[in-house]
Amino acid sequence: MIPLSYYLLLSGILFACGVLGFLIKRNIITIFMSIELMLNGVNLSFVAFAAQWHALSGQVFVFFVMVVAAAETAVGLAIIIAVYRTRETLNVDRVNLLKL
């Protein structure tokens, strides 16, 4: 059996990739995907713990996270389309009308 620490390490790497992409990428869709990556990194640690301790609640959490993520995706993509229609770009550095 694969030890828990491997899962957690993978989960941490996935999450770190997500954070990194979130911070350095300029394309909104890429940022969006980075967020999904972070969520799934966390999901992975949930299921790993659930398997380790034989606790079903961890798996239930994951389902919740996936459902919420799906909903969030729908909203997020709609926003991205709206942004593209008005700004004709997906570069976040140019979506800065709120700055002082």
């Binding site: 350095i24 976040v92 800065n96 002082l100």
Partner: protein, 672 residues
């Protein structure tokens, strides 16, 4: 508390004060859009109903069953301390109730004629009704706190009505003056209430008096009762315009004349006398306080009367006369003759109300002129006003068998004969009676005899003095070429009050009035009885002698006034000339207002300007507010750059924040 056989009619007592309140509310809220007829109907109906109810109550009042009490609602309940809204009816309240509603109703009727052409007619009627509400609350209260509500309320109504013509600067400041001077008195009253709460644990009349009853002047309670008595007297001196707080009353004449009659002569200013009489149980056990009351009353009576001699404004003369008569009432209370004080209060309400209303009729008839030097000969033009005013003048001067003869004589006799009294009070009282008679007949001769000295309408318009005083008449539709008699809506109340001024004193014959009030002033009556039992035989002869002297003083005043203002009109100016400085001092009211201005007003104004305004308000409070606002602005100015609008910088902040939280949790995990 109330006997089971209570007459159902007496249950109307709690409703009586509410009736004028209803009238005030209706006229106050809807009066602006109502017709004057509707306003009149509402104001008179509610006030008249109150009077009618008071009459019914008087008819079914039984001395044996008194006092009645009427709990209305719970109010303050804090541990053992309770104050409720409740009303109280005993002989004293009943007298006050009848005087207030009766005279009040007559003056309401009179006001209809006097104020009809004023733009603020609805406002006036509403305030008058409001005043009635508070005054009735005051006299019907069962405890000192409800009384205090009425006390403050009449002060408010007085303020509103003195400053009724608030566009006139002098009226606005007279209103303020009345209010502020009364605050000083109310301060004393309040502290007396606090002392009662602290030592008797109650403000209820019956409870306080039960607690006070066993105390005698010799026991340890004396200091406390003296303090309470003196503080109550401070309150009474403010409301009833006694030395040293009388200064507001003459200025209060800026209000419309019916207001002067109702509030500043007949009812409100007597509230102090009522309060002292109501607290007779306390005062009788504090001889020191009694003495102070008597001395203040006597001095005020004499002092105000001397000022009255030199006044030229007809209403100012009456104002000082009111102060002086109130002094008599306090003199009576101070020598323990509370029922005599209340008796004089009642007759004074009749004849002083009448004097003011008649003076108002004169002022009305000659186009707003108040200066007696511009009157004269008016008996030809306004016979009814002349007739009623004459009755009032003879009454106040103390001619038998008019009302004030009985009440004033009662006071003077008590001042002489009471165990608390002294011949000094009596002597000063008689001198005051002489001066009163003199200045009242001076007013009478100047106003109604000789030739009319005022100009006609065309002249009047060009005289600044008249234009100033004519404020209340500038809107009148009719011209003022000739002095004219007032309409019957104004003369009616004059005639009724004249009848009362003649006959109002007869209830005192044979001591009926005193016996009626005796249950209220029980302990005083016993002292009185003991005294009378010993000196009955000797007393009768002295009483007659003293009575003759005071009547003689009245005649002397009449003769002197006749001499100076009818026969030898050149004399007054010469006398004034020869007296020089003294005359100036009297004519300028002994410079008391100026003295107060230097002693009290100026330090307060200067201190407020430099210390409170410039140093405290601007230097501390404003500075604190402004500086903290400046600091907030500067900090925000720096912090706002965080909000760059750049999405990735936000993301960076979120990540950094998350990192800090994780670092903190890891650190906590390590250390614990």
């Amino acid at each position: 508390m109330t006997p089971p056989t209570l007459n159902p009619l007496l249950w109307t007592v709690p409703i009586i004060p509410l009736l004028p309140l209803g009238g005030a509310a209706i006229n106050g809220f809807f009066g602006r859009r109502s017709s004057k007829k509707a306003i009149t109907t509402v104001a008179l109906a509610f006030c008249g109903l109150a009077f009618f109810a008071a009459l019914l109550i008087a008819a079914s009042f039984s001395s044996a069953a008194a006092p009645y009490s009427f709990p209305v609602a719970h109010w303050i309940r804090a541990g053992n301390f309770q104050v409720d809204f409740s009303f109280y009816l005993d002989q004293l309240s009943l007298v006050m109730l009848l005087v207030v509603t009766g005279v009040g109703f007559l003056i309401h009727i009179y006001s209809v004629g006097y104020m009809w052409d004023d733009d603020g007619y609805y406002r006036f009627m509403s305030y008058m009704n409001l005043f009635m509400f508070f005054m009735l609350t005051l006299v019907l209260a069962k405890n000192y706190l409800v009384m205090f509500i009425g006390w403050e309320g009449v002060g408010l109504a007085s303020y509103l009505l003195i400053g009724f013509w608030f566009t006139k600067d002098s009226a606005a400041s007279a209103g303020k003056k009345a209010f502020i001077v009364n605050r000083i008195g109310d301060f004393g009253f309040l502290i007396a209430l606090f002392l009662m709460i602290k030592h008797f644990g109650s403000l209820d009349f019956t409870r306080v008096f039960t607690a006070v009853r066993p105390l005698s002047p010799e026991t340890a309670g004396a200091g406390l009762l003296t303090a309470i008595g003196l503080l109550l007297m401070v309150g009474a001196a403010g409301k009833s315009a006694q030395i040293p707080l009388y200064v507001w009353l003459p200025d209060a004449m800026e209000g419309p004349t019916p207001v002067s009659a109702l509030i500043h002569a007949a009812t409100m200013v007597t509230a102090g006398v009522y309060m002292v009489a109501r607290s007779s149980m306390i005062f009788e056990r504090a001889p020191m306080a009694m003495m102070v009351v008597a001395i203040i009353g006597t001095l005020t009576a004499l002092f105000a009367a001397t000022i009255g001699i030199a006044q030229t404004d007809i209403k100012k003369v009456l104002a000082y006369s009111t102060v002086s008569q109130l002094g008599y009432m306090f003199m009576a209370c101070g020598v323990g003759a509370f029922s005599a004080g209340i008796f004089h209060l009642m007759t004074h309400a009749f004849f002083k109300g009448l004097l003011f209303l008649a003076a108002g009729s004169v002022i009305h008839g000659i186009g707003g002129e108040q200066d007696m030097r511009k009157m004269g000969g008016l008996r030809v033009y306004m016979p009814w006003t002349f007739l009623t005013m004459s009755i009032a003048t003879f009454t106040i001067a103390g001619f038998p068998p008019l009302a004030a003869f009985f009440s004033k004589d009662e006071i003077l006799w008590k001042a002489y004969s009471s165990p608390y009294g002294s011949w000094v009070y009596w002597l000063l009282g008689v001198i005051t009676a002489f001066i009163t008679s003199f200045y009242m007949f001076r007013l009478w001769f100047l106003t109604f005899f000789g030739d009319y000295r005022g100009g006609n309408a065309n002249d009047a318009a060009h005289q600044p003095a008249i234009a100033h005083a004519a404020h209340d008449h500038s809107d009148h539709g009719h011209g003022h070429g000739e002095p004219h008699e007032s309409p019957w809506v104004m003369l009616g109340p004059l005639v009724i009050l004249a009848i009362l001024s003649v006959g109002g004193g007869w209830v005192g014959i044979g001591g009926h009035f005193e016996h009626f009030l005796a249950p209220v002033f029980q302990s005083g009556a016993t002292v009185e009885m003991a005294r009378e039992a010993t000196g009955e035989a000797a007393g009768k002869g002295t009483e007659t002698l003293l009575m003759l002297i005071s009547v003689g003083a009245a005649f002397l005043g009449l003769y002197l006034a006749y001499l100076l203002y009818q026969k030898r009109r050149d004399l007054p100016a010469k006398i004034a000339q020869s007296l020089g400085g003294l005359y100036q001092a009297v004519a300028n009211k002994y410079y008391i207002d100026e003295l107060y201005a230097v002693l009290f007003v100026k330090p307060v104004v200067d201190g407020s300007t430099t210390i409170l305004w410039h140093d405290v308000d601007q230097g501390v409070i404003d500075a604190a507010v402004n500086d903290s606002a400046d600091a907030a602005r500067h900090i925000s100015d720096n912090v706002r750059h965080m909000q760059s609008g750049n999405l990735r910088s936000y993301a960076g902040w979120v990540a950094a924040g998350g990192a800090v939280v994780i670092a903190y949790m890891v650190w906590m995990g390590v250390t614990h």
